[in-house]
């Protein structure tokens, strides 16, 4: 076919319909291959009805379309979105707001967002605390004070860092920066069914357990004699309940404390009335016909009780970070200075992060981390976070424990002073004092 014979196209100036000579307009009786000039004058645009003279020759643009077929950069939302309204989430909101009075902040939280101090939960029974007395500020008033949009009872279900999109059970959010403060969840071994074992990791679960413990003295089995287990055992016994504390180790906090100290802690708990059973592995938990729970151990011991509380450690939820391909190593990996995750514009702080491969689940670093994130968001590189081992304080009434520094596995402990009331020890490693411990 020569150039002169090439099929031409004509465009309707009113609606943009294109008449292609090759295709014709069969619906209007114009056969394929009909030249535009041969179309009867009474023909009208099949789309909008204007007449033939309203058409003009249409030359297909030679230039490439302005829009690429390949995916391009994505549009960005505006504002900071925070996942979690525990101490880390609110600290982040406070810090961001302090540095920027105008930036939109949204908090997404599975609970109602009320603010309380989580460490108080493990000493709350003997203080006769209530939900009301524990709440320092309601979520709604805090949100109002800080100018935060608070999305309560909302779960973050998906994250696409490339889209700057967080998906929740109440719709999707776009962000300029996302701050993950989702915390850590109780790790429940397979032998402990969730519907029979309490885990005290937030206010709501404490309030629900308390309803079961408030009527009369109860028999409680606590599984796990770490920090939370020891504190709860101490608190429950002080509040008048019968407490059996089980652990795979032979003494409470045995993986952290030197033997001399953990033995002293064990004796103090026992003096207070706690029955400590060490060196046992729970293999089953069932509810019997009377509604009582029965805990059985590998060595054949059996404990009947009214309530079971598992304090078997914490883990960071992997689903959200894994779906977003965030680097993860026992927690969400963050830059130790800026708290940025492996994804651009996504930060994390508090119980959900790991720094140099180690999770850090203490209160003290949280506000510093929040400040570092807020500074990074504002482009202030001069306020990096510096990670120091936090001071650990065990709030066991029967024998308080305070630890400064971070103990190491190979370190040698020595006694500094020892009286009936108090034991002071230090740990040396590589010729340096790395840790000081005071019991009593």
């Amino acid at each position: 076919m020569t150039q002169a014979q090439a099929w031409k196209q004509f465009i309707c100036r009113a609606c943009g319909l294109i008449y292609d000579e090759k295709l014709g307009d069969p619906d209007s009786g114009i056969a394929p291959g009909t030249r535009f000039s041969e179309i009867p004058e009474d023909w009208v645009c099949p789309l909008c009805g204007v007449v033939k003279s309203d058409f003009e020759p249409y030359d297909v643009p030679e230039i490439a379309p302005a829009i690429a077929r390949t995916p391009s950069a994505l549009k960005r939302g505006v504002g900071v979105v925070i996942v979690g309204a525990g101490q880390a989430g609110w600290a982040a909101a406070e810090a961001v707001r302090a540095q920027d009075p105008k930036i939109p902040i949204t908090i997404v939280t599975a609970c109602v967002g009320d603010r309380y101090l989580k460490p108080e939960l493990s000493i709350a029974l003997r203080r006769r605390s209530t939900r009301e007395s524990l709440v320092r500020e309601t979520g709604s008033s805090s949100a109002e004070r800080l100018g935060v949009r608070l999305m309560t009872e909302t779960f973050a279900v998906g994250l696409s860092p490339a889209l700057h999109q967080l998906r929740t059970t109440r719709g999707n959010l776009s962000y300029t920066a996302l701050i993950l403060a989702q915390g850590a969840q109780p790790a429940l071994p397979a032998a402990l069914p969730a519907h029979l074992c309490w885990r005290i990791n937030d206010l709501e679960s404490w309030v629900r357990l308390k309803q079961h413990l408030i009527q009369s003295p109860k028999r409680v089995v606590l599984i796990g004699a770490g920090m939370v287990g020891c504190e709860l055992a101490d608190d429950f016994i002080t509040a008048g309940h019968q407490v059996t504390l089980l652990d795979v180790q032979n003494a409470p906090l045995a993986t952290v404390l030197p033997e001399q100290a953990s033995t002293r802690l064990r004796m103090a708990l026992e003096r207070a009335g706690v029955t400590f059973v060490g060196g046992v592995q729970v293999t089953s938990v069932v509810q019997n016909a009377d509604g009582l729970k029965v805990v059985t151990t590998q060595c054949g011991l059996s404990f009947e009780c009214d309530e079971i509380v598992a304090a078997t450690g914490l883990v960071t939820d992997t689903r959200l970070p894994a779906g977003a391909n965030l680097m993860f190593e026992r927690g969400i990996v963050v830059d130790p200075a800026t708290l940025q995750t492996s994804a651009k514009d996504v930060y994390a702080l508090g119980d959900c992060v790991s720094i140099n491969g180690m999770p850090c689940r203490f209160i003290e670093p949280i506000s510093k981390q929040a400040h570092a994130i807020a500074s990074a968001l504002n482009g202030h590189a001069d306020a990096p976070y510096r990670h120091d081992p936090p001071v650990i304080r065990l709030k066991t009434h029967s024998l308080p424990v305070v630890m400064h520094g971070a103990p190491v596995a190979k370190g040698q402990w020595r006694v500094v002073s020892e009286t009936e009331q108090q034991l002071t020890m230090t740990q040396h490693a590589d010729g340096l004092d790395c840790c000081t411990l005071v019991l009593g």
Binding site: A66, R69, E153, F155, V157, T169, H212
Partner: protein, 378 residues
Amino acid sequence: MNPTDVAPAVLATDPQTLLASVKQLSSGVLAQAAYKIDHEGFYPADIMRSLGQAGAFGVHLDRNGQQVGLAINVMREIAQQCGSTGFLTWCHDVCGLYMEQSGNPALMGALLDEHASANTLGGTALSNPMKTFAGIEKMLLRAKRVAGGYRVSGALPWVSHIGRGQYCGAIAGVYLDDGSASHEIMFLLRCTDDVVLRQCPEFSGMEGTSTWGIRLDDYFVSEDALIADPAKPFIARVRAAFVLLQTGWALGVTQGSIESMLEVEPLLGHVNKFLNDRPDELQAELDDLSARIQTLARTPYDGSTDYVISVLDARAQSAELVLRASQSALLHQGARGYMMNTAPQRRIREAHFVAIVTPAIKHLRWEMARLSKPVMPA
């Protein structure tokens, strides 16, 4: 009969050949029929058979290597040209999945061969049971045990891809003689003369999906027709695959919408550039989502809560994306896309069906919230 003894109904073709055949059928006969299917109630049974012969409805089955990701891509190709047929593809795919996963030899041999090649057609009636298991609705079909099987009564408002001589997977609650609820059964409901098929009211679109109201009155379910007894563990096992497969349909309607935007770009790009949700942005989101779906499709029977939430999230996102894409396609095309018989106009109806069919966006969020709550003692 051991399932591995069953010869595949469809000879294994390589994915490229399969996708090319599906594309040829979809962009040809199917694209031409799309308006008739959507608006005039034309049920594309013959097109479904052609697609079945090409191997479009068997690749997700265990017997063909459980290629769920490929099945999603096939469905996407079909739905790009016609959302209704994309939906029929999903109905057909999950019905085959029920038959194979049933472990019932009576459903896994010749019947499944015929189904996978679309010589016979059948769908799914699990909208109500799925919502019942999620705590949203009450079970509509009731069964009682009789010699050799069950008798089932009740009515379902609308079931797609059925008709006389066709069939669907259905679930009924079993009640004991004292009236107490016992458990649930899942069975292959054959639309014989014993089954009343009632004409549905006119829908705004998707009219050619052969959707009927079903009424059963002491309908006999023989043991040969049982897919699962009890049904709950079976549903727990197949639920994620059931939901994940639907995404192929949503992705296809989204891709079709993007193509409609690109189609008018030479002509209208100079003004369309002022619109939100431009084709390149939507394509980026679609690609991101598709990649995640393909990863999920590698383990369709992972029953963990984390996996199920990820599948529900992908399904919800696909529904949200198709709504935005179909609307944006209409805005990009302007009046030409507002014509009743144009694809952008049709896709508005298709996209809304993606968003409201079980599991609808609101159900997906309800279920994700339910699954996200930690279990605690009562």
